[in-house]
């Protein structure tokens, strides 16, 4: 069993234009174990993406206080590739496009990055694994010979993120708005991919605005973030309640003093 612990995490980003630091996360606490699916919900601009990017190690986010522990080991000073090899995965909201590198070539490099130099995956095993996962996601083999994300539609990019998840088999997957821009069919396919990973050796943190995704990937724990903190934690029913009341209603119920970005 693997664990991911976030302890009193404070994070700043530097505004490139005026070189001022802005605190986004103001003391996040959270513990996840493999075998669990956690959903993080919250209004726009509340720090959900910041949380996932900081856990992964995006260099623009600076941890000013607190710690992130993976299996008891602090990872805040590790570069992003090392965190990935230790078992973290971030399904991105805006995956990069890279011309000239085929999807298959990239996937193989990623799979091999986590394996020892003398234990690289054979072409046969790789293709077998790839075929199986393509089938789960209802993706054509042609997708793997295309350049990485180049010219992919929004839905194709999201599927491709999940394909990577299935190929890399991390301990923890942080999925940042994996449902945005998906129609209902694509949403089902993506959910099927994540559910295929479910088991004792996999945990996931699913970031979403909408409860809809959680009908397909039923979470064990739901956290509500507002103003850079987790303000409430509950089970799957919390998401349903949120769908009914909205964030403003929940905020007023909890008597939290936070301004919502989209509130006039």
């Amino acid at each position: 069993m693997a664990t991911l612990e976030i302890k009193d995490l404070h994070v700043e980003v530097t505004d490139e234009e005026n070189q001022t630091a802005k605190e986004i996360l103001k003391g996040v606490n959270l513990t996840m174990k493999t075998g669990e699916i956690h959903a993080i919900m919250g209004p726009n601009g509340t720090g959900k993406s910041t949380l996932s990017q900081t856990i992964m190690g995006q260099p623009s986010y600076h941890v000013t206080q607190g710690d992130i522990l993976l299996n008891g080991e602090s990872i805040v000073d590790m570069p992003v590739d090392e965190r990935a090899r230790k078992g973290l995965f971030l399904g991105m909201q805006y995956p990069a496009e890279i011309q000239g590198v085929t999807n298959a070539e990239f996937l193989r490099a990623a799979v091999n990055a986590r394996r020892a130099k003398d234990d690289q995956i054979s072409v046969m095993d790789f293709l077998k694994m790839l075929d199986k996962n393509l089938a789960i996601l209802d993706m054509s083999e042609a997708m793997t010979e295309r350049y990485l994300n180049e010219g992919f539609s929004g839905g194709e990019k999201k599927r491709n993120e999940i394909l990577q998840l299935l190929m890399i088999q991390p301990s923890f997957a942080l999925l940042d708005e994996i449902d945005s821009g998906l129609d209902i069919d694509a949403l089902k396919v993506v959910s099927k991919g994540v559910n295929a990973m479910r088991g004792d050796n996999f945990g996931s943190m699913i970031i979403t605005h909408y409860q809809r995704l959680l009908n397909y990937i039923v979470p064990d724990v739901v956290h509500i973030m507002m103003g850079g903190r987790i303000v409430k934690t509950g089970d799957a029913s919390l998401a349903k309640r949120l769908e009914k009341e909205g964030y403003a209603g929940l905020r007023d119920d909890l008597d939290i003093d936070v301004a919502l970005v989209d509130e006039n």
Binding site: M92, P95, A96
Partner: protein, 426 residues
């Protein structure tokens, strides 16, 4: 006057060496005429690149045999291999010989096919009086290859030209590859330039391609001249009506280098495509002009250049699209992009469009930048190490040109060279 005297002495020396080499008078006279005008001609213009202190014209014409075993080149079905001035091997299948195809050493061609050579050599694709280095080249020419494809002959097998500069000796390589493709021909040429030996020498390597009506010529090059070679590489083409010339240049020389690639679209409906990839490293300096001139009506020129600059090196790409008055209905596109991999790298991507005709389509794009951090982050977030991620991004950057190289063997060799350079250059 001193210069006068030196001039006369130089002429005498060239004349003596050429006569000793049993050259016909037309060639000797061409050498002498070139020598005579050398001092009055300008050096080739490479914008934003200063090479004034480079010694690109060491003055001597000498004949020397190279050791044949210096050529460690795998045998190819249609191939010519030269080390320095020595031709090691010519493979030309009987079928092609019967069709009248000629593939031979330049000076043998001067003897055996005097009319063909005289008609094409420095007359159409370029002339000796264009600049000082072209004149120098003509005067001091000491090696070369002649390829002739008669009308209506289509050659499916690529023709492999392997030129090995012999730096175990102490002399410049002045090599001329002359390709004459007749009407309705199709031919694909791959040229590989390498160096053996440790001496420091000049390499002045020219290639002329004359593409007659409705011919289709493809040239893929792997230029790998050594670190101690100062190189001037010029490749020129002349395209007649409906002819096409496609260049794919892998400019991987290790020493200071000037590249001048120039195609003249003379005929109606002729087309050219010039793709150039370069990687520079150490304190190397490289300046490249890639030019297509639209002279005929409805001609189409396309330039695509990508370069990676490592360590303390410098790379300048000039893309030149020149549309002459009267070339109505023509198109000229170009893209020049450079990737700088160190803070000490210098780069310049310089699009130059010279348009003297209204009814044309022309466009350009240029950029000089660093590796995209977003792309690196994405790759590394999958566990891929920084070095590997950088290599993938660079490969991707060069990919647009790489994937367009038709000869698979050349392409994979080029990928290997690129990987090696990236491995060493960090």
């Amino acid at each position: 006057m001193d210069t006068m005297q030196t001039q006369t002495q130089a002429a005498t020396a060239v004349q003596t060496a050429a006569q000793q080499h049993n050259e016909p008078s037309w060639l000797i006279n061409k050498r002498l005429a070139a020598l005579d005008q050398m001092a009055d001609l300008p050096m080739p213009l490479v914008q934003r690149f200063n090479y004034r202190d480079w010694d690109l014209m060491p003055g001597n014409l000498q004949w020397a045999d190279s050791k044949r075993d210096l050529a460690q080149v795998a045998d190819g079905p249609v191939q010519i291999v030269q080390v320095g001035q020595t031709t090691v091997r010519v493979n030309l299948p009987e079928k092609l010989q019967e069709q009248g195809v000629v593939l031979t050493d330049f000076f043998t061609a001067v003897k055996d096919y005097p009319d063909l050579v005289q008609e094409a050599f420095m007359t159409k694709a370029m002339k000796a009086n264009e600049n000082r280095l072209a004149s120098y080249h003509t005067a001091y020419l000491n090696a070369g290859v002649f390829l002739y494809v008669p009308n209506n002959v289509v050659i499916s097998e690529p023709i492999d030209i392997q030129l090995i500069q012999d730096n175990t000796l102490d002399q410049p390589l002045n090599s001329h590859v002359l390709v004459v493709a007749g009407r309705n021909t199709e031919v694909s040429v791959s040229q590989h330039l390498t160096t053996v030996g440790e001496n420091a020498n000049l390499a002045n390597c020219l290639m002329e391609v004359i593409a007659d009506e409705n011919s289709h010529v493809t040239v893929a090059t792997l230029d790998e001249l050594g670190r101690k070679t100062l190189a001037y590489v010029e490749r020129r083409a002349y395209a007649a009506d409906n002819a096409s010339v496609n260049w794919a240049v892998g400019f991987m020389n290790e020493g200071n280098t000037i590249g001048n690639f120039d195609t003249e679209l003379n005929g109606v409906g002729s087309r050219a495509d010039a793709k150039v990839i370069a990687i520079t490293d150490h304190d190397q300096r490289m300046g490249v002009n890639t030019k297509i001139t639209n002279r005929g009506k409805h001609t189409n020129g396309n330039i695509l250049q990508r370069g990676v600059i490592l360590e303390d090196s410098e790379l300048v790409y000039n893309g030149i699209g020149d549309i002459i008055h009267g070339a109505a209905g023509s198109e000229a596109e170009q893209e020049n992009r450079l990737l700088m991999m160190s803070s000490n790298a210098h780069g310049n991507a310089n699009p130059i469009l010279l348009i003297d005709e209204n009814d044309v389509m022309a466009g350009h794009a240029a950029s000089v930048g660093q590796v995209d951090e977003q792309q690196l982050y994405y790759l590394m977030s999958r566990g891929i190490r920084r070095e590997t991620a950088e290599r993938l991004v660079i490969r991707g950057f060069l990919g647009a040109v790489l994937s367009a190289i038709p000869a698979k063997a050349v392409r994979s060799q080029l990928v290997e060279i690129i990987e090696r350079k990236l491995e060493n250059g960090r």
